[in-house]
């Protein structure tokens, strides 16, 4: 099975990249864009027997290394494949 993790700066942490890209989009005429945030996507293949176990382990990976809870938040999903 496959897992996908999405990591972003927390809403309380200013994201200069997102802000700059949002400004550029506005200059191109996309006036209705707001709160653009740029994050990181991590895909992985896993060898667990159940989806639940995989989910639990991926959450642990996020806590231990993939995300920094001081400044980042994460979401993770198990992809059917």
């Amino acid at each position: 099975m496959k897992a996908r993790v999405h990591i972003f700066y927390k809403d309380s942490v200013f994201d200069p990249q997102g802000n700059t890209v949002e400004d550029s989009l506005k200059k191109l005429g996309f006036a209705k864009v707001k709160n653009l945030r740029i994050g990181r996507v991590i895909d992985m293949e896993l060898d667990y027997s159940t989806k639940e176990e995989a989910k639990r382990e991926v959450a642990k990976m996020c806590d231990k290394l993939l995300a920094n809870p001081v400044i980042e938040s994460f979401k993770h999903e198990i992809l059917d494949s």
Binding site: Y9, S12, V13, F14, P16, Q17, T20, K64, L65, L66, N68, V70, I71
Partner: protein
């Protein structure tokens, strides 16, 4: 007295800081490898140098903070041993939880490399005890991710314990409250973005004031 300088893959200030410590006198410098787990009890100081450990992959300092040697550094720090993290070393200390907060991308997204002035916020620390409070130090910075971030509760806690050691006179990176260097509650672990080891010679010598404070703390200067 023994000082250990840790080399992570991608560290590039390990030789500079070893050199500075040797020139200071009083320290016998030993280089340590991140994969080893040596007994650190005979050391008086552990240095996490600047650089780009693990190529700054994932987040600056994230992988280095999980290196085998960091467990030993944690034990050493818990027993009151002096640990300094410079630039990437500061990022590693925050990533490992030995220091509060985190370092995010500079506000202007630039890698900033220049001399600037930092102010000593307190001299009630082993790292600044020989410096006047409020004294400006001219030190170089060189980083892309040096914006110190912490929530308000964490910041108030740091203020209460006088953990803010250095602040920028002109904030280069968007750090909250202009923070350039902090220590832990017990003040034996110090992290800073500026490079004192690059300001420890005749051309630029304010970094020596930090090293000399530590030498005084360790009884190497009377």
């Amino acid at each position: 007295m023994k000082a250990g300088v840790i080399t992570f893959p991608g560290s590039n200030c390990d030789d500079d800081v070893s050199d500075s410590l040797k020139k200071l006198g009083g320290f016998e410098v030993e280089k340590l490898w991140h994969k080893d787990t040596p007994d650190l009890s005979s050391f008086s100081l552990i240095v996490l140098p600047g650089g780009f450990s693990y190529g700054d992959y994932l987040r600056c300092g994230a992988m280095a903070a999980r290196s085998p040697i960091m467990e030993k550094v944690r034990e050493f720090a818990d027993l009151g041993g002096y640990v300094i993290g410079i630039c990437n070393g500061f990022q590693i200390l925050c990533e490992s939880g030995l220091l509060p907060g985190a370092l995010a991308k500079n506000l202007n997204l630039n890698f900033i490399c220049k001399d600037l002035v930092v102010k000593v916020e307190t001299n009630e620390s082993p790292w600044t005890r020989s410096i006047q409070r409020g004294e400006p130090l001219s030190l170089p910075i060189a980083h892309g991710e040096g914006r110190f971030v912490i929530d308000d509760v964490g910041y108030q806690e740091m203020v209460k314990n006088s953990q803010v050691i250095l602040t920028y006179q002109e904030n280069p990176n968007g750090s909250i409250h202009n923070i350039a260097g902090i220590c832990n509650k017990t003040k034996n672990v110090f992290g800073l973005m500026p490079h004192p080891e690059r300001a420890s010679d005749l051309r630029s010598h304010d970094g020596l004031k930090i090293w000399n404070s530590l030498k005084t703390q360790l009884g190497l200067v009377t």
